[in-house]
């Protein structure tokens, strides 16, 4: 945690409400996101209990599994979920723009121009908490390899037609969510805690109700953020139920034991009674019992998900009030490419994502994410003075006024400009010998090299040896982005009086080395992956296996 975040948290405690941790919004928010509030069954990993989903705040669709241990009911739930998610996802697939790119010609190996489709917009899924992201990933994992009756007439438990496709999309969303700065699938708690600092720990910030209580405390009730957060976490009604149900997917044990378990038991009884019915008249009455029992469970699920649903939308309102940061659209374009690429993979009939990544894919993903993380850190700092402040405090950036510019040139056959720029700053950057620093020039990074630093009131110092508190004069040599001529291009050299921000970190981190193709995986990494990867033997079925 940076010093400035610590300070903001302390200020939040004193003020009784959360303090801004950002001045702009650092994530893309879709005009029409799909909000998913899932619930799971206690003790049964991957057995959904229900969900509230939809794009319309006033008309969420309630999906319920009245007996979560029943595979058929679970399949029906997944089919319904697919009916909501897939049309939403597919509605973005056809509106495309054409983007010019280059790719290697497979015959000549030369770079040739190609036009590629890029979806004009992409779907965005929002869940209440990080556990919700994990749950969608789990649903994706458990459904993408299922076989439908069409794909395999022999399969013992055929999946409803669109469920495997749902699994592939949820897997894609889940993987993309691991890329820093991506916005295809977001958790509301992550979004809010990125933009506000509360007076509680970051672990407590994962409780959506408590987090919102800090950000937007109910002042009309005379509560501070801390009091409201405590109530959100612990407050119970006279029946012992939480006033603010957890955002899920896990449910409160008091709810499970006192309300849900009896309701499911009633449902089970009604179902076995119906199965045992002897004639049509009796069956009609028993069917009514069964639907009553089912409706009851539905109401229970709705009562636990609706407050969270409201909270997610409230969070969206709060975030929408912040202006979007200027580099967010650039990162959203990355999400659109990711969406477009998966759309193409699905359309071309490629198999679902493999069970585990092979060595090359894993290395590629890690490299990509590290690059995206560095890019995100840099972009957030450039977009937002409050984020930049944290980097200035740690000596990774400095802001100052240009007090002198002196032209020098390289001593080469065709001299190039190498202006020396003196910047007066109150910051204390950790500049090593010949360190590279960068500033943003028309959205592109311009590089300079650190030459020398001295205190304004005398006292020269080399790298990192300046200790006093006064202003510092930093001399930099600009080395690029000044055009090809002898004289620098107009506006490419800072002028006296300019107030500039230089960072010690790169703005656009370079890509790493190219990895081998999977079929050329070297001996150190087990050689090329066998095709198809051998599946581990399934666990033997025991008496305890109820599912």
């Amino acid at each position: 945690m940076s010093l400035i975040t610590t300070l903001a948290r302390l200020e939040a405690i004193r003020a009784g409400r959360a303090q801004p941790a950002a001045t702009v919004r650092h994530r893309h928010l879709a005009e029409r996101p799909l909000v998913v509030v899932p619930l799971t069954t206690a003790g049964e990993a991957g057995a959904p209990l229900g969900a509230l989903v939809g794009c319309d705040r006033d008309a969420p669709r309630l999906l319920v599994v009245p007996q979560p241990r029943d595979r058929d009911l679970r399949s029906a739930f997944l089919a319904e979920l697919a009916d909501v998610v897939l049309p939403y996802v597919e509605s973005f697939a056809d509106d495309v723009e054409l983007v010019e790119g280059k790719e290697a010609d497979p015959e000549t190996g030369r770079q040739v121009k190609v036009e590629r489709e890029l979806c004009a917009d992409a779907p965005q899924l929002i869940v209440p908490s990080r556990a919700g992201v994990e749950f969608l990933r789990l649903l994706g994992r458990s459904t993408r390899f299922r076989r439908t009756a069409d794909q395999d007439p022999e399969t013992a438990y055929p999946a409803p037609p669109r469920v495997p496709l749902l699994g592939r999309w949820l897997t894609h969303f889940g993987e993309r969510a691991r890329v820093p700065g991506s916005s295809l699938l977001l958790a509301m708690t992550d979004l809010l805690s990125r933009h506000w600092a509360t007076g509680q720990s970051s672990l407590e910030d994962q409780h959506l109700g408590a987090l919102l209580a800090w950000i937007d405390p109910p002042v009309e009730e005379g509560l501070t953020g801390a009091e409201a957060a405590l109530r959100a976490e612990l407050g119970r009604d006279p029946e012992g139920q939480l006033l603010c149900p957890p955002a899920g997917p896990a449910t409160d044990p008091a709810f499970d034991n006192r309300l849900l378990a009896p309701a499911i038991e009633r449902y089970d009884r009604a179902r076995s009674a119906l199965a045992a019915a002897e004639d049509g008249v009796a069956a009609d009455a028993l069917l009514a019992h069964l639907s009553e029992a089912e409706r009851e469970i539905g109401e229970l699920v709705r009562s636990r998900t609706l407050p969270t649903w409201e909270n997610v939308w409230r969070g969206l309102d709060l975030l929408r009030a912040l202006p979007e940061a200027s580099r967010v659209p650039d990162r959203w374009t990355g999400d659109r490419w990711s969406f477009t690429a998966h759309r193409d993979r699905v359309a071309s009939g490629e198999p679902p994502q493999p069970r585990i990544d092979d060595a090359v894919t894993a290395a590629q993903k890690l490299a990509r994410r590290e690059r995206e993380q560095a890019k995100l850190d840099a972009q957030e700092a450039l977009d937002d003075p409050l984020v930049l402040a944290a980097r200035r405090l740690t000596g990774e950036a400095f802001v100052g006024e240009v007090v002198e510019v002196a032209m020098t040139y390289t001593e080469t056959k065709r001299p190039s400009p190498r202006p020396l720029v003196t910047v007066r700053t109150e910051d204390r950057p950790h500049l090593g010998e010949k360190a590279k620093v960068f500033r943003s020039l028309e959205g592109k990074p311009q590089t300079a090299r650190f030459v020398a630093a001295e205190e304004e009131d005398g006292g020269a110092g080399g790298a990192g040896e300046v200790s006093a508190e006064g202003p510092l004069l930093v001399v930099l040599r600009i080395v690029d982005r000044m055009g090809r001529g002898k004289e620098p291009a107009l506006g490419s050299v800072p002028e006296k009086g300019d107030r500039l921000c230089f960072t010690l970190f790169e703005h656009e981190p370079r890509g790493g080395p190219k990895l081998p193709d999977p079929e050329n995986t070297p001996w150190t990494h087990g050689g090329p992956p066998s095709d198809p990867a051998p599946l581990p033997a399934a666990d033997p079925v025991t008496e305890e296996d109820l599912l």
Binding site: A362, A367, N520, P522, H525
Partner: protein, 452 residues
């Protein structure tokens, strides 16, 4: 020492033991049936010497060799060492196209060829570069029969993946006790996979090639007899090593007597016993604890002012303890910057101040360490990492002085390791918690309380 211990010590000939292991390593590398050989080397066990010797022998055997190191400084150092040993051997230094990509000392050396293109260096007996640069060389453009991978435990598995296509066989050398490679983003998704890209190159290599011969260098030539047993027991409990020198071989003395202050007393304690703990009163502080930082700087200042002289097996006469033989180690970069600033205020220059990550592989006579847990309210995985403490506690030839706030033992007890257990991941022993306790309890015997 008991008479039995003395007898055993006498029977143990460090030089002969180390030579025996080195011969076995070279034999396996040159004529062994396996594609890879792994060498574990504790701190200061002669890893660089081994790499240079193996490189020369492979070159003599006519086997074109590529050497993979992790940083440009390591590469430059290796080139210089090779050149020093065998000035007539053509050595290629492959470097990046950046300005200042290599040490200017390499320019103008006979038989050292510099290029940023692998093709220009092809055919030379030895070509050396960083893993990052080797990763940009295409296997279709260049190929080597033999490679040496230096600091292989600090190399990430994905980095090995980018270079392994360039060679047929390789000698992997490294120190398993130092800092593990890390990733700035979560990699839990691949934990337990044999090729987890965030794991060390050696763990991936051994997971896929379990039969490879593994050797261990048995003697630390750097660590004094006062330090080797502690470092061995705390950080290498199952693969012990010994000091190459005895208690009487190294001595540190000061011309100026102690003025009775805390820094002077801790210096005397460390000179006498090899270890010193300057303990400041308990307090929770920001990372750049001003008092602790000033204490570190004061200790360094006094070390240099008091006219230290080091006696060791390297020289017959005492060698003055100069600024370049002293280093300060910290956990964080901002701490290092704060110490540098404090030293500048005291007029001390040329003393290296750096983080554990950057001190890896370096050697000094005396080190002053700001304890990673000093003044902290919590013990995170970062601060508990075994390798971090191991690096900080094993850079010295004579003495190590630790500056720390009181209460770290309680802090450790309040923060037992709670990292989740990942299936399929080899649990590393010892964990940072245990290693920290081992070092602390030893340091407690050399404690000098001081209120600045």
């Amino acid at each position: 020492m008991t008479s039995v211990g003395a007898a055993r010590a006498a029977a143990f000939d460090p030089g002969a033991e180390a030579a025996r292991v080195t011969e076995a390593i070279l034999r396996d590398t040159k004529v062994g049936a396996h594609r890879g050989v792994v060498v574990d080397s504790p701190p200061g066990a002669g890893k660089s010497t081994l790499v240079v010797r193996a490189a020369l022998e492979l070159a003599d055997a006519g086997r074109p060799l590529m050497v993979v190191a992790q940083t440009n400084a390591q590469v430059d150092d290796l080139v210089l060492r090779l050149h020093e040993k065998r000035p007539d051997l053509p050595v290629g230094r492959l470097h990046s196209s950046d300005a200042d990509a290599y040490d200017k000392a390499l320019e103008g050396l006979d038989n050292v060829l510099l290029s940023d293109k692998a093709a220009a260096l092809a055919g030379l007996p030895v070509v050396i570069s960083t893993a990052a640069k080797w990763g940009h060389v295409k296997p279709s453009d260049a190929h080597w029969e033999q490679a040496i991978v230096d600091e292989a435990y600090q190399m990430r598995s994905d980095a090995l993946l980018t270079v392994a296509g360039l060679f047929d066989r390789a000698l992997f050398v490294g120190d398993p006790g130092q800092l593990d490679p890390f990733s700035v983003v979560g990699a839990e998704q691949w934990a337990g996979l044999s090729y987890d890209p965030s794991a060390s190159a050696v763990s991936t290599l051994l997971a896929h090639n379990p039969g490879l011969p593994q050797h261990r260098l048995p003697v630390s030539w750097r660590l004094p007899a006062s330090a080797a047993p502690l470092v061995s027991a705390a950080f290498y409990p199952y693969t012990p090593f010994r000091a190459g020198t005895g208690h009487d071989d190294r001595r540190l003395s000061f011309a100026v007597p102690s003025d009775g202050s805390g820094p002077d007393r801790v210096i005397d304690e460390a000179a006498h016993s090899g270890w010193g703990l300057l303990e400041l009163p308990h307090r929770l502080t920001p990372r750049t604890d001003p008092e602790a930082v000033r204490a570190v700087a004061t200790v360094v200042r006094r070390l240099l002012d008091r006219g230290g002289a080091a006696v060791s097996e390297r020289s017959d006469v005492p060698v003055p303890l100069t600024a370049d033989r002293v280093a300060v180690g910290t956990a964080h970069r901002d701490q290092a910057a704060a110490v540098r600033a404090a030293l500048a205020e005291l007029g001390v220059r040329d003393v290296v101040v750096d983080t554990a990550n950057r001190l890896q592989g370096r050697e000094y006579d005396v080190t002053v360490v700001l304890h990673p847990l000093s003044g902290r309210p919590d013990a995170t995985a970062f601060h508990l990492e075994t390798g971090r403490l191991c690096v900080l506690a094993s850079r010295h030839r004579h003495a190590c002085i630790v500056v720390c706030r009181a209460g770290v033992a309680d802090l450790l007890d309040d923060h037992p390791s709670t990292e989740p257990v990942q299936l399929g991941v080899t649990v590393k022993f010892p964990d940072g918690w245990e290693a920290n306790h081992a070092v602390l309890s030893h340091l407690a015997e050399h404690r000098v309380p001081w209120r600045p």
